[in-house]
Symmetry: C2
Subunit: 437 residues, 2 copies
């Protein structure tokens, strides 16, 4: 099976765990067998591998997520990087060209496309396989998954099938309806459109060449910024006559709000939390290293990260966005290709961060115009390079760097350091990168 997972942009609806640089699919909130926690991305990835050990999995995403994906998944995953956001049709066209041109997969093969962040049972992954097999048979140009509705949702588009068979031709599509319309559709046997579908690579390539003037994947990548924003539904699905839908009646949840996310949690709390016996239906996710004590609360979600603390009635949590839009908080934690950093102190003319480098990794060789820096290595071993001078370092070593000086550190083992930045104009934009000398 070829599969493309669409990894969407950062959202604010799961603040403070998601922000400009962290997306919900990377948050580790699901307890797995060995007692550790996994992200939605990791769970979906491992379940696809389990359903089909030979699956070729490609993630279609933006540049900003590549580090997080590499940190969370093994190196068998392919990544189709969108140079910028251009809606689903360009993204799927680019991923399709990536499969044929970069990975060399035959145009005759099928691919299954689905979002990276559904909360589903194992039978969902079996259904993905079946969807690919249906596409292989070639009875239709597109095969969609139609999810049997459990309530008249206003959040999804609907698919009206011709028959009630497990696989049927599609009669028509309906856009997100209001509640009464949704009831009506369901009484007509309508299914939710969860954005899961399969096609033969050559089919989408043909449509792409009709709409975009390009030669191959690399050409498409190069002109990606010039493409129009257009959805796959509008560009392809709505214009296609020959579509099948395959019913799916397993569990399928959208984890886009705190309310639905906490429903999927297997335990009431993650992290350092104490829930008094007077709490009812309270969920806590605490990424901070200080305890949270909750007493006498009902139907409340509490979430704390280096970016902030949310305490919300679960139903109310879906109205979070305007409040978070109003918060002007610098990024306090971020995963990078080489590890992660966390802001631990902010003063007017200094900023102190903790940097964790993964073994074998290094940060970019860089300099700052307007700040001095001091590194205090607190654990691990590695090599610093400062204006071309190498030095072996380990816990207790101190490196001072004046503004303008080029510097990096290469971790031999996992290496942690405290970085104190000093200056009147400390900014993430004050950074010049260099090739290693």
């Amino acid at each position: 099976m070829n599969i493309v997972l669409l990894s969407g942009g950062s959202g604010k609806r799961l603040w403070p765990l998601s922000n400009d640089v962290r997306s919900k699919q990377f948050i580790k909130i699901f307890k797995v067998e060995d007692g550790s926690y996994a992200s939605m991305l990791q769970i979906v990835y491992s379940k696809i591998r389990k359903a089909d050990p030979d699956a070729r999995i490609t993630i279609a995403t933006s540049k900003s997520q590549v580090s997080a994906i590499n940190n969370q998944l093994d190196d068998k995953v392919g990544i189709s990087i969108e140079p910028c956001r251009r809606d689903t049709f360009p993204a799927i066209a680019l991923a399709t060209a990536y499969l044929t041109d970069a990975l060399g997969i035959s145009e005759e093969e099928s691919v299954v496309v689905c979002p990276v962040d559904p909360y589903v049972d194992d039978d969902y992954f079996e259904a993905l396989k079946k969807l690919g097999e249906l596409s292989d048979r070639g009875e239709a140009n597109l095969v969609l998954m139609g999810i049997e509705p459990t309530y008249p949702s206003e959040k999804y588009g609907y698919i009206i099938p011709e028959t009630k068979d497990a696989v049927s031709r599609v009669r028509t599509f309906k856009e997100k309806p209001d509640f009464l319309k949704a009831q009506e559709y369901i009484s007509q046997g309508a299914l939710w459109n969860g954005g899961v579908f399969a096609y033969k690579l050559k089919y989408v390539l043909e449509r792409a060449h009709q709409l975009i003037d390009f030669t191959d994947y690399w050409d498409l990548y190069g002109k990606y910024e010039t493409l129009n924003k257009i959805s796959f539904d509008y560009a392809v699905v709505e214009k296609e006559e020959n579509i099948q839908v395959m019913r799916f009646h397993g569990e399928w949840k959208d984890l886009g709000t705190w309310n639905t996310l906490t429903e999927a949690m297997t335990e009431p709390s993650i992290g350092n939390a104490i829930l008094a016996t007077t709490c009812k239906n309270v969920h806590v996710i605490n990424e901070l290293n200080i305890p949270i004590l909750a007493m006498g609360l009902s139907d409340v979600v509490i979430s704390a990260s280096p970016d902030g603390i949310l305490i919300s009635d679960k139903q109310q949590s879906s109205y979070i966005k305007p409040y978070v839009d109003g918060i002007d908080q610098q990024v306090m934690f971020a995963e990078k290709s080489w590890g992660s950093f966390r802001v631990i102190d902010v003063e007017k003319e200094s900023l102190t961060i903790k940097v964790t480098l993964n073994p074998g990794h290094r940060m970019n060789y860089h300099s700052h115009d307007h700040r001095d820096e001091v590194w205090v290595v607190i654990s691990g071993e590695g090599t610093t390079l400062v204006d071309g001078m190498e030095q072996q370092v380990r816990a207790g070593d101190v490196i001072t760097m004046q503004a303008g000086c080029r510097h990096t550190v290469i971790a031999r083992t996992e290496l942690k350091l405290i970085e104190v930045q000093l200056g009147r104009e400390i900014s993430v934009h004050d950074k010049k990168k260099y090739a290693m000398e």
Copy 2:
């Protein structure tokens, strides 16, 4: 007026703002005229000064609170330090001997004794003055303040006066009753006993000499640890026939729980907090530098400090103690005589703190056996002393100290530094102090 403020021990009922080293009377939560925040101690102190500019104010407290008191009050305050906790009779006897022997006040003068942490209006302080004047007249050995009850509280002892006059002799005392008994007392004209009273110094000194074998203040201080724990009520009040009570009918609140404390707040939030319009009767006190967002909550208190985060139904908040007792959290923030420190990062073999030194102050000259330390000065100017070597330092300077080396820093201006502690056995107990060379 002579006045002794009894400053009680650290309580856990206002966790996370009070802990082993911070008591509720030092928490700055009351907005004052210039827009800044003041503690209960500061408010009570300044209001006494306003009611009587010549008041001689002494605070009876334990050693651990002396730094906080000096940081919050001016140097006109006297402090009677209890070497250890020995209940109210030894504490009041010690403070009384301190007034006569250490401050040289005549035994014929009166003193007013009251808790440091009532939440009261200005007329309370006028009443304190009257209490002292009544004692001066010498019609009784003890003059108590009797607070007119506003509800049948089970939390206070009751005073039954002989008449309904503004000043009356006391008929009898009643211990904390149940609700029905409280109703009965109130129908008999009973008053709350708020632990506020006045006496002539010689009176308590006589009682003290009857019960304790001591010569003067310094002798009493020296043998304080050997004294029995005994309350002032038991040792003095219950055995005294000649007592007056003065009625007080102004506002008088005990701020011992989050529920009552938030009632006294003039604004719904202090610190970085956003309350959605769907919140009702929600109070937030946020000492952290990250935002708190509250949505759809009712009758909830949220309090965040470097020690932890509390989210509680207001009524339920009075049951906090057993939960906090179960939290084994190192002290993350503390005020010291020289300034304050805050833990900003904890790792297995390192601890990073931010130290703030007040202008003109210094930490103790000290060494550690089992850890190295690095200081990075982030603001201000001062002098470091390391194994006898002096160095002028300012922002950007780095000082490294091996285990065993003696060190201190003296602040010229306010000075802040990041201290990285490195070692396998980092403990607050690993500290040797030295005289300055």
